[in-house]
């Protein structure tokens, strides 16, 4: 556990952990040349980036309940040093996912972008993804030190609670992407829900010595 804690304290390790899942699609497209993937490689990239964005978002939101539940656990402490980095990574994956979607739908024609975005407006599946992305964009922009200072801690914190709304929307968006309910949504967001329930339950317990 001490080794894990030490590794997770390292920024380089965390960066590697965050970047490598994004590189993964290169393997089936260029190395193993899996024909199921090369049939529509952009779709594979699109789904993969969305998938990673959901995972990273669920992971970063689990950091603070982990620390609240086990304040003395070194791993939880180590993880919480990287909240901003991991949170911005979730935004970057979501942004890459949206960019791929725009390219996938409209190619390189700039004029196609508003058309693609407009199609999303009357389709809850697409609209939830778009709103979740917008929230992450706001959170990423307000994560710069100068902006945090300018907003003040309390307002900043309240704004950043929107991340939970983004997670809920992302879970819906991911489930609606498939024709049958995909169990991965439960694996990705289920643990987070359990941690949050545990944190709320713990907060309601009377504090010892009071």
């Amino acid at each position: 556990m001490a080794i894990l804690e030490k590794l997770l304290r390292s920024k380089r390790v965390v960066w590697t952990l965050l970047v490598s899942p994004g590189l993964w699609p290169l393997w089936p497209i260029f190395v193993s040349k899996n024909p199921s993937v090369t049939a529509d490689p952009f779709k594979h990239v699109l789904h993969h980036l969305g998938f990673v964005a959901c995972i990273v978002l669920a992971i970063v939101l689990s950091f603070s309940p982990l620390r609240a539940l086990w304040p003395k656990w070194g791993v939880a402490q180590a993880l919480n040093r990287h909240r901003r980095l991991v949170g911005v990574a979730a935004f970057v994956y979501a942004a890459l996912h949206l960019t791929t979607h725009l390219l996938y739908e409209g190619g390189f024609a700039l004029a196609a972008i508003p058309v693609t975005l407009k199609t999303a407006l009357d389709k809850p599946f697409q609209l939830t993804g778009l709103i979740a992305f917008t929230i992450l964009l706001v959170l990423a922009v307000t994560s710069m030190n100068s902006v945090i200072k300018w907003l003040g801690g309390k307002l900043w914190k309240n704004i950043h609670r929107l991340a939970y709304v983004a997670a809920g929307l992302a879970a819906y968006h991911q489930a609606a992407a498939r024709k049958l309910f995909p169990m991965q949504v439960v694996w990705i967001f289920g643990p987070l829900v359990i941690l949050e329930i545990a944190r709320i339950w713990q907060q309601r317990q009377p504090k010892p010595g009071v």
Binding site: P35, Y104, E105, G107, F108, T119, P124, F125, L180
Partner: protein, 318 residues
């Protein structure tokens, strides 16, 4: 004089037969036939599961503007939920001991001459196979171009001599939970059912495929015989058919049973009626680049099928 330059995807006629023989030579049955029972049985085995029917290209259904999708993409990018919901899964899971030969198919219900035949007998009775190049448009907004081998559905239905009260044709897929993991999980309501109106089924385009690119149709594409209705979304093209039933009641197709708000009975390709979750105005081309191509009304077969739906509200009857 018309000088025709063959396209790079066009196989010379001579290439088709050796290719299918090559495929056969890999089959255990064929080796067994050669070794044990001699030439007579070998000839019979050549006919096994529609392998031995070199198909003649039907030029009437080969639009030179259509560029067929690569064989490996057609056979690796499959929706066949009986063998998994991921596109890559059917190629693996449908080839793990699931037997598609021998295979019996019946034509039954409101007919004067019910049939129950081995699939090879069916192809023989249909006078062999022909090849047609059709567009295939999935409800998920992607498309392929497939050179199908097989026969026109109307010929088979005519052979069974439908009664006049028959209004619909109900198709049913195999049910074999031992071989089909998706059926064990029950991810859909199995066996898979599809349906057409009789006039749709008798349309010249409605086709039963027994092969692709002159080779026997692979298991993951719906061996040994599947429906092909190119003006409808792909899920109407039911795979691995065991029963074709003439009836007076509109069949409830599997996807309609699962989610009637998204999948209808008609499922005609229609760029003006969106799926609730995505646009149907355009489509991704499998094996193509970025961007999309415009989806055509009735998938480009308006001339052949538009008359079937005269006066119908296609927004309601999606």
């Amino acid at each position: 004089m018309l000088i025709r330059t063959p396209k790079d995807w066009e196989l010379p006629e001579s290439a088709a037969t050796p290719e299918s023989l090559y495929h056969l030579s890999k089959r255990r049955d064929f080796l067994k036939a050669l070794g044990v029972a001699g030439a007579a049985l070998a000839t019979r085995e050549l006919l096994a599961a529609t392998a031995g029917f070199p198909s003649k290209v039907n030029a009437a259904y080969r639009d030179p503007a259509l560029k067929p999708t690569a064989y490996e993409h057609i056979t690796s990018y499959n929706n066949f939920y009986e063998f998994g919901t991921d596109k890559a899964e059917p190629k693996v899971l449908a080839n793990r001991g699931w037997k598609t030969e021998p295979w019996t198919v019946e034509v039954t219900g409101m007919v004067n001459n019910p049939l129950k035949l081995d699939v090879n007998e069916v192809v023989e009775k249909m006078g062999g196979a022909e090849q047609r190049v059709y567009r295939l448009r999935c409800v998920e907004a992607w498309s392929m171009v497939v050179p199908w081998d097989g026969f026109q559905l109307s010929k088979l239905i005519a052979l069974a001599d439908p009664k006049s009260e028959a209004k619909f044709v109900k198709f049913t897929t195999f049910l074999d939970k031992k071989s089909a993991p998706g059926q064990r999980q029950g991810n859909l309501d199995y066996p898979y059912v599809e349906g057409l109106r009789v006039d749709e089924a008798m349309n010249e385009l409605s086709f039963i495929a027994t092969g692709i690119y002159g080779k026997p149709i692979p298991n993951q594409n719906g061996a040994p015989l599947r429906l092909v209705v190119p003006w409808k979304y792909g899920f109407k093209c039911i795979k691995s058919i065991v029963k074709i039933e003439l009836t007076d009641k509109q069949p409830r197709n599997t996807w309609q049973v699962l989610q009637a708000s998204e999948y209808g009975f008609y499922a005609n390709v229609n760029p003006t009626v969106d799926h609730p979750r995505w646009t149907q105005a355009s489509e991704r081309v499998i094996g193509g680049g970025l961007g999309r191509q415009k989806t055509l009304m009735f998938n480009g077969y308006e001339a052949q099928v538009a008359s079937l739906y005269k006066g119908m509200d296609l927004k309601k009857n999606y």
